[in-house]
């Protein structure tokens, strides 16, 4: 164990350099550069608000403030899907290095989750702007900001853990089976609609018990709800959500860690 920590300590610079590289290169060559981290969630949220708030309607009953509600879900989901997809491809994309130089391989999926986290953290400022605007506007749609806002890091940390775990699992699988890449694309689309991002569970009035159970079993559901408790509803996060999501994230990390550790020496033969 000590050996591994020492090794990680030696390669911490690599972790830092890869994060730095990913963030720097993401918006290089685009005219607006880093502004896209704000613009992209802002514009896509506007589209979703227009479509699901006005055209389809009805899906947002009981929601204090639909734009903020939607933005919360979208920001978290975008981080989850982007970071896990990048982590999934990271080993294959770094094949040229892994084949030639010794580096601890787990650095790659972890660095990719972390670099996505950096852009996610920057994009949270869009949410802040939305909250401030609606607070100033006041009235019915004002978000309830209380001391519980301080608990915001809790769902974010759990989400981060979940992304690391899923990233390790996917990156391992993807080395051996490229199909995982395509399958996961579809899975993410399914997950987007299975997570209450554009709708609220209350508004759906689900009667089918099995369907409701599937919906609740999704850790992204617990995480987004906890996040909304903090920044929108101003209430204490639901302890059931907390325990379930945390447990799920820890199990994923353990499973991912073991899978990755057991298979990492074989990577080089397959990439």
């Amino acid at each position: 164990m000590k050996k591994y920590l020492k090794n990680f300590y030696k390669y911490r610079f690599l972790l830092y350099e890869i994060i730095r590289k990913n963030v720097k290169l993401q918006y290089r060559d685009s005219v607006l550069g880093i502004f896209w981290t704000f613009l992209q969630p802002l514009l896509t949220t506007l589209v979703l608000v227009f479509i699901f708030g006005n055209v389809f309607g009805k899906s947002n009953k009981g929601v204090v403030n639909y734009p903020i509600y939607l933005l919360c879900g979208r920001l978290l989901f975008e981080f989850y899907s982007q970071s896990t997809k990048r982590a999934m491809r990271s080993i294959r994309n770094s094949a040229s290095v892994i084949k030639k130089v010794y580096v601890p391989k787990y650095i790659y999926p972890i660095a990719n989750v972390m670099s996505t986290f950096v852009t996610f953290a920057i994009s949270l400022s869009v949410l802040l702007v939305f909250i401030v605007i609606y607070l100033i506007k006041g009235g019915e749609t004002a978000p309830h900001i209380t001391w519980y806002l301080l608990l915001t890091p809790v769902p974010i940390i759990i989400l981060f853990m979940l992304a690391i775990g899923v990233g390790l699992i996917l990156s391992t699988l993807n080395v051996f089976f490229k199909d995982v890449d395509y399958l996961y694309e579809v899975f993410c689309l399914l997950l987007f609609y299975m997570t209450p991002i554009v709708y609220s569970v209350e508004a759906l009035k689900i009667t089918n018990k099995a369907f409701k159970l599937v919906l609740m079993a999704n850790p992204m559901y617990s995480i987004t709800e906890m996040f909304r408790d903090c920044v929108l509803r101003g209430q204490l996060i639901n302890p059931h959500h907390l325990l379930y999501a945390l447990g799920f994230a820890i199990v994923t990390i353990v499973v991912g860690g073991i899978m990755f550790y057991k298979k990492q020496d074989k990577f080089i033969l397959h990439i």
């Binding site: 030696k10 390669y11 610079f13 690599l14 830092y16 350099e17 890869i18 590289k21 720097k24 290169l25 290089r28 040229s96 290095v97 892994i98 084949k99 030639k100 130089v101 010794y102 580096v103 051996f176 089976f177 490229k178 199909d179 995982v180 020496d265 080089i268 033969l269 397959h270």
Partner: protein, 247 residues
């Protein structure tokens, strides 16, 4: 007697050569169910024993497919031996393929730090070597240009400049001295020679007997994954020459 720099202890490496590459799930499951997953076992290295003392410069000779690169990759820690163990004392700088850690969208300058980090060096340390690297690579005018616009010679020059500037204790050279133009080749050879004075240990793969004679004091010949001869560079080079002539 100080500790040897490299100890390769009964190392064997087994590759499973798939007859067809199975990399999608459907095929894999079908083949497992039909028990059609045939592998051809191939021992790339067989029971290799090698001790390299500090300051030794060992040339590795052998025909194509003899296992030279596999051996170096095992010593560099890229491949894990199927049997046996490898112990290395000191910092290794593998120059297996120059520029392997580069990102093509990154500029030369940014790649220096990235490449340094890939070898486990801090930003601060690379900073202190930065001028030396740029000067040696002769890329001062192109240092802010993305690597994708570099020629292969320029990439190799930058890679060599970084790997040699960090003062490693063990240097692994896999045919890297055959890159660049004649002038740069000469320069890199001199650079490596200057590192000998600091007591660097070298493992050197080359097909050029003259180069091995110039650089190494010891040599081994690999054939079909086995060491078939080892001794001083002169003896071994002579033997290798005879082997080549015979074939």
């Amino acid at each position: 007697m100080s500790k040897p720099a490299i100890v390769v202890d009964h190392v064997s490496i087994l590759f499973n050569l798939n007859k067809e590459k199975v990399d999608n799930l459907k095929e894999y499951i079908i083949k497992v169910l039909k028990r059609q997953l045939h592998f051809t076992e191939f021992w790339a290295l067989q029971d290799i024993n090698l001790v390299v003392e500090k300051g030794d410069r060992v040339g590795v000779l052998g025909f194509n497919g003899a296992g030279k690169s596999t051996l170096l990759k095992t010593i560099a820690g890229v491949l894990k031996p199927t049997k046996g163990s490898v112990k290395v004392d000191g910092v290794i700088a593998p120059m297996l393929e120059l520029g392997a850690g580069f990102d093509t969208n990154y500029s030369g300058k940014e790649n220096i730090y990235l490449y340094g980090a890939t070898m486990g060096y801090s930003r601060k340390y690379i900073e202190s070597k930065y001028d030396e690297i740029v000067e040696f690579s002769e890329l001062k005018d192109f240092i802010d240009v993305p690597i994708k616009n570099y020629s292969s010679g320029m990439k190799a020059r930058l890679g060599f400049a970084i790997a040699s500037a960090v003062e490693p204790e063990v240097l692994i050279l896999d045919e890297v001295l055959s890159v660049g133009d004649a002038k740069f080749r000469k320069k890199s050879e001199n650079k490596i020679r200057s590192m000998f004075d600091k007591g660097v240990t070298v493992l050197f793969v080359s097909h050029s007997v003259e180069q091995v004679l110039r650089i190494c004091n010891k040599a081994i010949i690999l054939d079909h994954g086995k060491i078939i001869a080892q001794g001083t560079a002169e003896e071994i080079c002579k033997l290798y020459q005879e082997m080549t002539d015979k074939k």
